[in-house]
Assembly symmetry: C2
DNA sequence: ATGAGAATCGCAATCGGTTGTGCTAAAATA
DNA sequence: TATTTTAGCACAACCGATTGCGATTCTCAT
């Protein structure tokens, strides 16, 4: 197999009898290069099939026009949509995207963070692993002016960019909706001992809604899960239905859990939404296909990804404009989508 | 903000009064370095917080320990699972994964291929865009000994690695299953004017099964879609149900289409599977959650991703072992999962 | 025509590992 | 003791683009 040698700016320089510096500048429309030189350089660059070597540029500038994504997994609808949003926004500014999965493991996350740093990514977008209770492995980015954005599962105490929704408000709205449908004993699933704020906030919203409507808070109706999976959802729901005083509603902080609840209820002959109203979270594709389709809270995954990527890129451009108020939390709106699983015809 | 300077092998060398070459070799257990030197170097490297600069290494060796993924989108269950498999296998060998979405556009795919090349990826894994009818933009990889693996949506005529299932056999098995359930008029959805082989193969399997069982091939029952979406599925199914002689079964080459078929049927009062049996493809999560849950063909996405990544990594290691029979098509097994949407109690 | 200033372009260092080659000292063999 | 090996490490070129600074050429105005 023949070894095609890569075409470099040196080759172009030699062919045109110019200095490599001129080539380099011409290729990026530097003002100190004449228009005709620029045109000539670009022309022959194309003819020779020149493709810039990102690595060389990255080494020199100590950055790689690459955004690192560090998330639990890529297979959850919310996260794959997030990735999509990031990728689209990044590409628009000619950034590449490199992806790593923590699988919700703290140790893995620590390793991958180092690997991202090793790759000299220009910025990092992260949604924390379930296990993570300490974020010191992100200091290497902060310490080196590598913009860091946490999305969705954000740490409680790290002073950096965040892109989140108002989880408290969302939890409140979801619960209030159920109350308005006549539910008196609303159950809630949440994450056990969480370091981040996401599920805690939703739970707070749930509790505040109950309080506001003079409903009692029954700890028996609040179940902590280790993982947000279908199986754990089924287990929790069966537990709930076996209570002496079973719930008549459920706010699940994820659509998969809502699906498991609806199906577990049906299996036991419990009518949804008449006997048991359910609202989920995220507006996953499945929520509107399942029967009954599931009320949920919208979660603008792609928009959040776009916002996160743009935060990084903007911050990278304006190195000198110290003015722009960094470290800012971005809130985005969410809506209650009322569908069959919670609309009682009262 | 303080500018932490990166620790380099030069810093380590200075501190230990050794040459940088010794540090470099020691860090990767080169045989020409004594054990105690290795130990000492690794020790102080850790103490000083040394993190290797991937870009520098990549520039020197003209490769980046990175695998590029070029696929239509990351939000389809099959593709996100594929990514997951690739990422896991890649990480095991300390490769990173960089992802790009063609959004089924040929022009975008061409651009992204160039970008991957510019990033000096070690290898490329690609599932072709729907639009793509020409693969000359992949020659840059082949010409430079960058391993290229096509997965699932593979080109018809490119001599390189492939990871696919036996689509003909799968289509045959799916159709045969419907026939065995008593279906006489089985419809089929497929992709219009496809350059690749995927949907054509499934269709061939469908036709061969019909022929083998002496069933007529009715072109009215075969509909070409432009995109494999829920909406197009609904449209196509409504068309089918409006035929004078409506079908009594459907082989859909994707679970989303199967879902759309089942729901369209239900909406029209057509009983599934009694009046209309359906089998999908891929075993997407939704297929077993929907009611009735949907018979389907398994498609081992993660395993295929793993296989593709391993193909690349193995091929990269053995540069000299010209022996290993490259350019080999990997076939993987698939199964018919019989669920409610197609099991008639005959 | 000539000097000031602007417009262009070249030189060479630099980023941080990698690796072929060569040198030196210690270990092995004669 | 003399000589051949071998282990252990140092030198320096190299990958390809970037960029500060200096040098040269060109443009007008005087």
């Amino acid at each position: 197999m023949e070894e095609h040698k890569h075409v470099t700016i040196y080759d172009i320089a030699k062919k045109l009898n110019l200095a490599t510096s001129t080539i380099s500048r011409a290729l990026k429309d530097h003002h100190s290069i004449s228009d005709k030189t620029i045109k000539k350089v670009k022309q022959t660059a194309k003819e020779m099939g020149f493709v810039p070597n990102t690595l060389a540029a990255g080494l020199r500038g100590n950055k790689s026009k690459t955004i690192g994504i560090l998330i639990p997994t890529v297979t959850q609808p919310f996260l794959s949509s997030l990735i999509s949003g990031i990728e689209i926004a990044a590409r628009k500014s000619e950034y590449s995207v490199i992806i790593m999965q923590s699988h919700d493991s703290y140790d893995v996350e620590v390793n991958l963070a180092k690997s991202l740093y090793s790759n000299r990514v220009s910025g990092v977008i992260c949604s924390l692993a379930m296990e993570t209770k300490d974020t010191s492995h992100f200091k290497q980015f902060s310490n080196n002016n590598i913009p860091l954005v946490f999305v969705d599962r954000v740490p409680r105490d790290y002073d950096t960019f965040r892109v989140v929704i108002n989880n408290h408000l969302a939890g409140y709205k979801a619960t209030k909706h159920l109350i308005e449908q006549g539910c008196k004993r609303i159950a809630h699933l949440t994450a056990g001992s969480e370091f981040g704020t996401l599920y805690n906030e939703r739970k707070r919203g749930y509790i505040d809604a109950l309080i506001e409507h003079d409903l009692p808070i029954d700890e028996d109706l609040i179940i902590s899960l280790k993982h947000m999976t279908y199986e754990e959802g089924v287990k929790a729901c069966n537990h709930l239905f076996n209570l002496k005083e079973a719930p008549d509603g459920l706010f699940a902080p994820g659509d998969i859990l809502a699906v498991s609840a609806v199906q577990t209820a049906k299996k036991r002959g419990i009518k949804v939404p008449e006997d048991f109203a359910v609202i989920g979270f995220n507006n996953d594709p499945i929520s509107e296909i399942i029967e009954p389709n599931i009320s949920t809270i919208t979660h603008p995954a792609e928009k959040m990804g776009k916002a996160a990527a743009e935060l990084i890129i903007k911050n990278l451009k304006s190195v000198k404009d110290e003015e722009d108020d960094a470290k800012e939390i971005t809130f985005l709106n969410t809506q209650v989508l009322i569908r069959e699983s919670s609309s009682r015809k009262i």
